[in-house]
């Protein structure tokens, strides 16, 4: 069985981002970039499934600029077998990402596609669901546990009310939540070996998709600066403020 994992190059979660002066986007100049943490969890899960003998190949795919190869190499250093780089400098809508991935699915024929539940840059949380719909496959999103049961995949999902367990028939799309696993460290020997693993580069134009954006970013602004707190004298004053100023109780 082959597993395809989609990964995204995003600004590292440790970076305190700043908005560009013209409010068009986040300023990425000199920002450290990394694999989206949820995608890294997806890679780890695929590797664990392979190590259990349930899969024989883990392929990682990314859609992004030339520099995104660095994130593919990181995934290869964690243990993925080969990479696919769909090259584009454009920022794609989730639906277009899903359509590109669908083409990769068509040519690679994996039985399982694992993605992060969302990317920490735009937090859309759409691509996995859209990909499953486009392929007509079963989907298990926000996975916190993935177990093979016979020919079914049992996916425990983190939903609002608690945990929900689904049995998916393959092929399927799974998106990872934070608690699915703790990714391993890339060992130095594996970082060196990753250099010799193959990466196929596909120019996005060669896929023949119409990728005109349907989404327009009007403005990107920084969250309001937190105001200093106030001290209240007693419980009565607190209740009064909660009721009349914050209006969080009635």
């Amino acid at each position: 069985m082959k597993i395809l994992v989609a990964i995204k190059r995003v600004v590292d979660f440790n970076v305190k981002v700043r908005v560009k002066a013209d409010e068009s986007a986040v300023d990425l100049a000199n920002c450290k970039m990394s694999i989206n943490p949820f995608c890294e969890i997806a890679v780890e899960e695929a590797l664990r499934i392979k190590e259990q003998g349930k899969a024989d190949e883990v392929v990682v795919v990314t859609i992004g600029p030339a520099a995104a190869q660095e994130q593919l190499r990181s995934a290869l250093a964690l243990g993925a077998d080969r990479g696919i780089h769909v090259q584009t400098d454009d920022n794609l809508d989730s639906l277009h990402v899903a359509k590109v991935l669908q083409q990769v699915v068509n040519s690679e024929s994996p039985q399982l596609v694992i993605l992060g539940k969302q990317a920490i840059d735009s937090d859309n949380n759409q691509t996995g669901q859209m990909l499953a719909a486009l392929c007509g496959w079963s989907q298990g999103t926000f996975a916190s546990e993935v177990v093979f049961e016979g020919d079914k995949l049992q996916v425990t999902r983190e939903v609002d009310g608690g945990l929900q367990t689904l049995a998916l028939s393959l092929p399927a799309v799974v998106t990872s939540d934070l608690r699915l696993n703790e990714p391993r460290y890339a060992t130095l020997p594996n970082i060196m070996k990753a250099k010799r693993k193959p990466i196929d580069v596909i120019e996005i134009e060669s896929l023949g998709l119409s990728l005109e954006s349907k989404v327009k970013t009007l403005k990107v602004s920084a969250p309001a600066v937190r105001q200093a707190g106030v001290k209240v004298a007693d419980v009565d004053e607190l209740i009064n403020k909660l009721r009349n100023e914050a209006k969080v109780i009635s």
């Binding site: 660095e70 190499r73 250093a77 460290y185 890339a186 060992t187 130095l188 990753a194 250099k195």
Partner: protein, 385 residues
């Protein structure tokens, strides 16, 4: 000339930083307080490759450059100075074994040393011979197929917790040419350990005296040839000095980051400390000197990687400068914290205690000046260095 890191180097740094943040930094204060030697964590570091960084690939090491190794150690030192320093000493001793030991000894030891399952100490200093290392008096007398070792070593890092000792001992004439190096299993008969020294810093690793009483070691445990031991010990130290310089740089960077964070938070006279120009200037100087120290250290590593004839002088300059700058930066970062800097709840006093010894060991900074001065005073030195 390109000062940018390449993709491999960024990947190495990323793994080292992750390990440093997750496994070292959260525990460093506790290890210091408990005087706990985290051997298990060093072994885990070994699984990632950190215990045989520049040991040759032929012997199973990663064969990385000294420059790459320095980039990695710097990240590790940001998390725990003392544990990283021990790892650097282990790397140095492992490199010596992996480079000069007989096939038999390499077979027996290299895998486990490189994976960090077993650790090595470097034994040069003696009670009567510190800076003047070539005057050492521990003897190794050949008797048939064995050498009999007698004498004592002092201030040996890791001693009592390590499995292999790289020991410099006298097999011949007085002076450097009469010295040989041996790989000595740490637990054989006649190897006697003193109590752990009570030190100013470096609490997360033991420092002990070792006495050798008629210790019999097979001739196969000789590194290289008789009489080459001092040269090997000094070659080991060239790299060791880059490593110790790096431990100071990583710690100082962490101290500087902590101070910058504190200056934004702490308010006096109605303003954050960061608003006072006197402190801004202090931060500017600390940053400038730290960057200079880092670049000099990387340059020395580059010279060593390229077998530059002046590599030893550059390693000495890097060690002298980076450990002095490292101490000053840590001390200034403590000062910026006021009284809190002196309190153990904050890491600053530990940084100061830990980096202080870097100005002393692997050749004191006075001895570094001796090496540099000797070179700088040769004819035409200005055109060569």
């Amino acid at each position: 000339m390109d000062f940018n890191l390449n993709e491999d180097q960024r990947a190495f740094i990323s793994t080292a930083r992750q390990f440093s943040k997750q496994e070292l930094a959260p525990n460093a204060a506790g290890w210091d307080k408990e005087h706990y030697f985290p051997k298990d964590v060093i072994q885990r570091a070994g699984e990632l490759g950190f215990c045989g960084l520049y040991a040759p690939e032929k012997a199973g090491g990663l064969g990385l450059s000294r420059l790459d190794s320095s980039l990695i150690f710097e990240q590790l030192a940001m998390g725990c100075t003392t544990t990283t320093a021990m790892m650097t000493i282990h790397n140095m001793a492992t490199w010596m074994v992996a480079t000069w030991a007989t096939e038999q000894i390499k077979q027996q030891w290299c895998d486990e040393l490189i994976s960090g399952q077993k650790l090595a100490s470097y034994c040069l200093t003696e009670p009567g011979s510190g800076s003047d290392a070539a005057s050492l008096s521990t003897t190794a007398v050949k008797q048939g197929e064995t050498y009999i070792l007698n004498g004592s070593k002092v201030f040996i890092s890791g001693a009592g917790e390590t499995e292999l000792l790289v020991v410099m001992a006298r097999t011949g004439e007085a002076g450097p040419k009469g010295i040989s190096a041996f790989a000595v299993p740490a637990d054989i008969e006649g190897v006697i350990y003193g109590k752990a020294e009570e030190k100013m810093g470096w609490h997360a690793q033991p420092t002990r005296q070792i006495t050798f009483e008629n210790v019999a070691i097979p001739v196969a445990n000789l590194l290289g040839q008789e009489g080459q031991g001092f040269t090997m010990a000094m070659k080991g130290l060239d790299g060791g000095r880059i490593n110790i310089a790096t431990c100071s740089i990583g710690t100082a960077q962490q101290a500087l980051n902590t101070a910058v964070g504190y200056m934004q938070e702490r308010k006096q006279f109605g303003k954050p400390l960061a608003a006072f120009q006197a402190l801004q200037f202090k931060i500017a100087d600390m940053t400038t000197e730290l960057v200079a120290a880092r670049q000099l250290t990387r340059m020395a590593a580059f010279k060593l990687d390229n077998n530059d004839v002046d590599a030893t002088s550059y390693c000495a300059m890097a060690k002298r400068f980076a450990t002095d700058v490292g101490f000053t930066v840590c001390n200034e970062a403590l000062q910026i914290h006021g009284g809190y800097g002196y309190i153990q709840e904050y890491p600053l006093e530990r940084y100061v205690r830990d980096v202080r010894v870097h100005q002393i060991l692997e050749g004191t900074n006075e001895i570094m000046r001796l090496i540099i001065g000797r070179r700088a005073l040769t004819e035409m030195a200005g055109e060569l260095l």
